[in-house]
Chain length 412, copies 2
């Protein structure tokens, strides 16, 4: 079945809001054996009509997100109804839901909200427990000479769309796809090898296998090597992939570095602490993104100022005076102090210059020193340079810190 | 000029990688008076051809991202060259650049990388200081009976695309758009009012103004109210917008809450500290995302475990025993201890249950207590519930904490 995603929203095309729906929906439907063949974004307003029409010629299932709200630029419901020649009727149950929701928050029902209660003929209402606008499902229509795809109209806000999709769209998709052979996607994250080298070492060999689909995605400091196929076909080559890529593999397929580190520490009953300057808490936040991180991560320090480094972590002020806050010596001392304070097995530290200001010829913007203190072993140190914007710098620097710990856990 | 963005990449349609290019490019070109009229994503491989052809019928400028790498699924360069009937020639300067880059990292030049040195006739090379694959620019072609848009072929990795766009694409776009009247986009972030209420209070009135384009975007707990127009037209209505939306405005137009808080603290020479449990450092990370945050934020504590709360922050263990770690009392004590340790004017604290595990009937997943300690004033406390996934919970909880401080700064 050919699936398309059509995202409606001027804010998406202005770049003021990141479109997260397309990727999220793709991940939900993959286990059903469904892939998104094309994703399109058009602005609110008249462009919706053309875009919906085009999908009719190509797709069997179309997810349309956004444009169901109460304001004048929300016209998805009306455009699709008109295109399919369906009349709209007010639905008293939706009105009651909206009134109850507003009353609970002390808001008034305004006349313009009543548009959200309109349901096109032949459409099924998808309840929205997290917002006012319900979703709508138009089952496919097939005539001898023409056909219309299944249309799912979904609300724009992710926290309304996501539960609606899980609770009401997925069951309908399962009915539509009982016979499709589900495939798995395994992503092997590779560090220390370029994209071409991964292809040469293992990719070309596996591309010969007609049961597998092979792909690559270059990311900062790493390459994602992707295999799609039936579970047994993937299992059959897994040991070969691990043998060839060996120490260059970040973690088992499909698992991010944070997940792998947390589960490895948990397995070995070890704990980790953090002391961050330039990354301002992002390292701790990434670790605690993993459910259950509390078993291995008990505390972190964000010591942004020099006085915080001396007073909270207990660094000797002379150390900072002599070497500067951005130095291997301070990075190592931060890690050691954090490890000691937290009584942890490991502590990671970062000190650097995130920019845009604060750099010098000797210590430019983008420089970062990373320390890893270990119980009963010498502290490790690495130095990196990431001349990029502040947000990317923080991502790359925390990534390098996690990778330093990953390598340590692999060898010891 | 009609602009389209075409993103190539199977990983984008599998959902394993978030497409950030479309939004980023949109923000770059907006100040030139250019808007993205449509954005499309297609997988690597044969679908590229159709999608490129379709843009020819609609657009005057087309940005194509991805598919320029060395692996077999990277065929954007070849497809566009074939479509435009251009022969490919090896470019020795690109080869020298790739060889130097690889040598510096100890990688070998593999035969398959040579595809990246091929340049189509009539295309201009856009240098890539951050990767191997150069970009390509095909200027528009205009015949009496047909026309081709300007094509910019750009590499997929953001840290290669972004500098290339700023340094080499933007100057060419400025030459193409000397006469376009630049517009501004002001986004007023509104809290405590629904989308319909914003429309009723101010939106419908401003929609009557032909010089303005009005839009709305509902977000968790807030609404973005968007005005696009010439600077003088926006200035003319600004005071009216502020008068009507008043205390519901998060911050001046276009500024995020973190930026506003950091600049307001800086202006008043005040400092802030943080003590986080369930948000694991995200609050500190959001504050330190703002350049210059170091002037107002000196330190933060990530006290994930109970022992960290007592040993690092100095909370009485009896307090946690009596009320539980997720309680108003512990939230307030965390804030007060952090303020005291950091000698700060304010300290924000969060303690809650991020999930998916750890909830109970009395204290369900999604519950969070937020404290705000103030110098010479009683500590404030709020309680929120966000039953959602872990990542969204962390976003919403830190957002509420920032909003608590924002309101405090507005009234005192």
């Amino acid at each position: 079945m050919t699936v398309e995603v059509l995202n409606i929203g001027t804010e998406l095309l202005l770049g003021s809001v990141q479109n997260t729906h397309a990727a999220w929906i793709a991940r939900q439907i993959f286990p059903l054996g469904l892939r998104v063949a094309r994703q399109t974004t058009v602005p609110d307003g008249s462009a919706i009509r053309d875009a919906v029409l085009e999908t009719c010629a190509r797709a069997e299932v179309v997810f349309i997100t956004g444009g169901l709200g109460p304001t004048t630029d929300d016209i998805t419901r009306e455009v699709v109804a008109e295109l399919l020649g369906r009349k709209l009727h007010a639905d008293p149950a939706i009105r009651a839901h909206i009134e109850a929701r507003l009353a609970a928050r002390g808001y008034q029902l305004l006349n313009r909200m009543l548009r959200q209660t309109m349901v096109p003929e032949g459409a099924e209402v998808l309840p929205n427990p997290n917002g006012t606008a319900p979703g709508l499902y138009f089952p496919a229509v097939s005539h001898p000479s023409w056909a219309l795809p299944h249309f799912f109209l979904l609300p724009g806000p992710p926290r309304e769309l996501q539960p609606m999709f899980s609770d009401f769209v997925m069951p309908r998709l399962r009915e539509l796809t009982p016979d499709i052979e589900a495939k798995e996607c395994r992503v092997y994250r590779v560090v220390g090898l370029g994209e071409s080298a991964v292809e040469k070492l293992i990719g070309l060999e596996l591309e010969q296998n007609p049961a597998l689909e092979v792909g690559y995605c270059a990311r900062p400091n790493e390459v994602d090597f992707r295999l799609i196929g039936a579970r047994e076909d993937l299992d059959a080559v897994e040991s070969r992939v691990i043998e060839i890529l060996g120490k260059h593999l970040v973690s088992p397929a499909g698992e991010g570095m944070e997940e792998w580190i947390v589960s490895e520490l948990k397995r070995r009953n070890l704990t980790l602490a953090t002391a961050e300057s330039c990354t301002g808490g992002l390292l701790a936040s990434r670790i605690t993104d993993v459910p259950g991180a509390s078993e291995v991560f008990h505390e972190g320090f964000v010591t942004y100022s020099n006085s915080a480094k001396t007073q909270i972590l207990g660094l000797p002020p002379e150390l900072i005076e002599r070497h500067g806050a951005v130095s291997p010596e301070v990075a190592c001392a931060m890690a050691e102090c954090a490890q000691h304070l937290a009584k942890a097995d490991f502590a990671l530290s970062l000190t650097g210059i995130a920019g845009p200001g604060g750099g010098s010829a000797e210590k430019p913007v983008g420089l970062v020193h990373i320390g890893l203190a270990r119980r009963n072993a010498a502290t490790l140190h690495i130095e990196c340079r990431f001349s990029t914007d502040r947000a990317t710098f923080k991502q790359l620097a925390t990534h390098s810190a996690l990778d330093l710990l990953r390598r340590e856990l692999l060898v010891h």
